[in-house]
Amino acid sequence: MTITIAIVHTLEVRWVSNNGVRFQIQTSRLRSPSILSSYLKMSNETMDVPKTGFSFDLCRRNDMLAKKGLKSPSYLKTGTTIVGLIFENGVILGADTRATEGPIVADKNCEKIHYMAPNIYCCGAGTAADTEAVTDNISSQLKLHRYHTGRESRVVTALTLLKSHLFRYQGHVSAALVLGGVDVTGPHLHTIYPHGSTDTLPFATMGSGSLAAMAIFESEYREGLTRDEGVNLVTKAICSGIFNDLGSGSNVDVCVIEKGKKEYLRNHLTPNPRTYVSSRGYTFSKKAEVLLTKITPLKELVDVVQVGGDAMEE
């Protein structure tokens, strides 16, 4: 298992292990051959897993388990409002920051605008793990492609990679994306649905708050908006989603992409601050009295020996 083989196999094994051990690993970074071999042993489908296409074996296992009464683990869903629009010089993307797990808000301030390339960003709605994994995966593929071609990535490249990935998984990867960027051919904005269909649009919204945001866009969008008008319109649409949809909330993230530069405005607007904050701060309970302090460095007790060249990574 030399290192060169490990690199070639990294992407493939990532794919397999995402497939085979879906709930446990969301994003995997496999580099060490020893970890590689242990995963190969864990997924006993390596022998007959098809090189392309989705292996539905585990779906049958999950159905059987569900019939026996096992509750499938609930997944973190980002009931969301994500939007994008094209303005005179480029693309503006916007998103809310609430991640829900059923009726509970799991993350009050998560990031839904994902990096794909220096000139391409992607907002994701649906299952958080799916959007994260799919955008990370395609982002790495784009980087390798950039090294290979020596050119800036194009938005249609990202679009084709994403749509083929999602189509291959037949809608089981529940990721609805708004992809936007500026490349040599100009500004582009696309929406990608979980089953793999795409649209090219001047303005787009996705997620549970998409109707509320679309109401704002349909009534107020026009071509040739300036940067400030565009940012204001995007903020207004996200706020409409935040205040009219229960699955969206907290703050507004905005990302402006123009030719040659981009601006990631994290928490551009925070319309939901904590109302009552104690001015005293948090007072800890009465401290226990310290009688004696003795520090023993562990190196004296345990001998750390390096075996071979394979130190534990991470």
Binding site: R154, V156, P202, A212, A215, S219, E223, F243, N244
Partner: protein, 275 residues
Amino acid sequence: MVVESHETDGEFAGGGLGHTSRSPIVTPVFTDMVSSQTESGLLSSEGESQRTQYPYVTGTSVIGIKYKDGILMAADMGGSYGSTIRYKSVERLKQVGKHSLLGASGEISDFQEILRYLDELILHDNMWDDGNSLGPKEVHNYLTRMMYNRRNKFDPLWNSLVLGGVKNGHKYLGSVSMIGVHFEDNHVATGFGNHLARPILREEWKEDLSFEEGVKLLEKCMRNLLYRDRSAVNKLQIAKITEDGLTISQPYSLKTFWNFGAFQNPTVGAEGSCC
């Protein structure tokens, strides 16, 4: 909210045309014309049975707002039969008595039934001949009781109603859904209007709008619905009710804009990669 989506959302097995995917409990056993009364008798004799209904000819959203002099309401004139737009001249805004205006979305035949009940109500009220007349608040209450009681019998009138009116200077705008949920507000909408029109109304409605401003606001919402609701048609009526009386406009259509650059050439830069 959950029930609202049944009406105008095309998802629900396309109206009456495809209910094979539904639970088979309600499929009528007899093929000849059985009135709903005997049908319930037959089914209830089989033990506990849930009676559901499927709306067949449906109207889409109605939007109502309060303005300076009274109430403004807008509704388009489409009647959809499942996923086809079958009727294009359905009047979904009707006068009720001297002081009220009723708009309905959902099953058209149930709306016509409701109008009959209201007709009888107003008739009896007039027969008292005592100078009093039922105002919008009273009619709203009557409708609520009627809808809720029908729902309790598992035989709902499949409508979402918007009732507005002015009596003695007092403006009233309320809504009743098919399960009897009722409330009063400055702006109401039914069906898809809840998702597409109410966000706009929440932003832009203010106290004491003039007539022109009110109409402009309603048209903005109706245009939105026209773009994004598949069962909407571009033929609408706007009704106005004030202390002086009621006027329902002639049907007219809205201007729409389809010439965005991205629509003309979606594959610029990568011809052939059409989505």
